[in-house]
Assembly symmetry: D2
Homo-oligomer: 139 residues x 4
């Protein structure tokens, strides 16, 4: 059965907050990376293996909308799923919520491009494409 979405949890560390006491906006992008890495692992192939096959999936577009701030020592749930897939690109979507209250914090999307190790666009190999099944936005 294809994966519909995965969840990871991030605990906000002191290094991630700014003087407003909330997570600095660019740091959420790292949690998105952690989440899509776990997505691939749970789908059946690690990103490390994908690179060893001769491919990169690089971020071509990033969008983040900040609804509410996460604060120091909060636990944040990062939900990640595949929104769209084509022969040379895949779009991951993300919804970050407070792991205790469920309040929506951030919604985000990354469009990933398939490149070979010379950084040229290339088709996602079939065995990887098979793991990347688009799913409806989860609840």
């Amino acid at each position: 059965m294809p994966l519909t979405h995965i969840d990871t949890i991030a605990r906000v560390n002191y290094s991630e907050i700014d003087k407003m006491g909330v997570v600095y906006h660019s740091r959420y992008a790292v949690w998105l990376d952690v989440a899509r890495t776990e997505y691939l692992r749970q789908a059946g192939m690690t990103y490390r293996e994908l690179e060893e096959l001769g491919f990169f999936l690089v971020v071509g577009d990033l969008t983040m909308r900040y609804h509410r701030p996460a604060r120091y020592d909060d636990e944040v749930r990062v939900r990640c799923w595949v929104r769209d897939v084509a022969s040379r690109r895949v779009t991951f979507a993300y919804r970050l919520t407070d792991a205790v209250t469920g309040v929506l914090l951030v919604s985000a999307e990354t469009r990933m491009l398939s490149l070979n190790h010379q950084f040229h666009p290339t088709r996602i190999p079939p065995e990887v494409l098979a793991l990347l099944q688009p799913a409806a936005d989860p609840a």
Copy 2:
């Protein structure tokens, strides 16, 4: 005369690149922050002063499109201007190019929201609004 745009230069440090030898995608967001901070300084008010007046300008939306990668030790020109302004928000736009070759690397936009120190939306004060004149996209 209102400011049409400002330029800052960032030199790519080893801490900013990943194993592909290129800048990790989220780090460009820090350079955007440096750029809009310098925009305000050159327009006539530092962000530190703006906070001391009781205001925050926080990122409500971030979009980045990655055209070409910046590599270790490259110098990157970050051009920043105001694209749009309203009573409670301002949109900064950015274009990052290789400082030597002029090649386009990243285009980006941040929509900033005006908040008071209780994190409630509030009008941008008139003396700040006066500094934030929208400009056509520069060459």
Copy 3:
């Protein structure tokens, strides 16, 4: 029974490695922060609570020795314990090993200073001191 040490696990993310494919040296300091935060939580008081009591524990000295590099997607075990404690300071020690092979990666120490919210040195409160029992270096 006082805590002798705690263990946390960090998975190396793409954002943490440099073009040698190994963790950039300063990022280990963040894992040390995560580890001593978990130490306090397991000892019985979160660092957030300690700040709410009016105290900061800030890093006065940091030393790190790099034995072997951690690589992308590796899992790293961070062992943390209290090496020494006095009325106004506490020294945490750390040993980072590959979570699978046990190979030593980094040894580190942070001397933390107790400050009040005006950043003046101050005695660690007794209820916190009671949680910070020095332990012999663990195996």
Copy 4:
């Protein structure tokens, strides 16, 4: 004439401070990297060129002592010099001061190890050694 020391200036960005409003302690390590990179450039060889010759200089030991905090938007002078050099390692020392007041903020040292691209210890090549003249601690 051999280089005795170099100075670089870092302006504290919002991304570098924590909720105490001061620079998060690990971020100074990045400024040390910027400083020694500029040292090499001014001495006559970029670190990029050194890597292209088949060498890495990696951090084997890092020590930082935090005297006073740098705050948001402050300018920090990073002074860097070679304290000691041997056939397979070089020690850089650093003193960070407030660029306006001259107040000492951080003193630091990094012992760098010469490795080949298989990560084995190797002699620093003579043309690089010639650039790395130890100097007395500058004023």
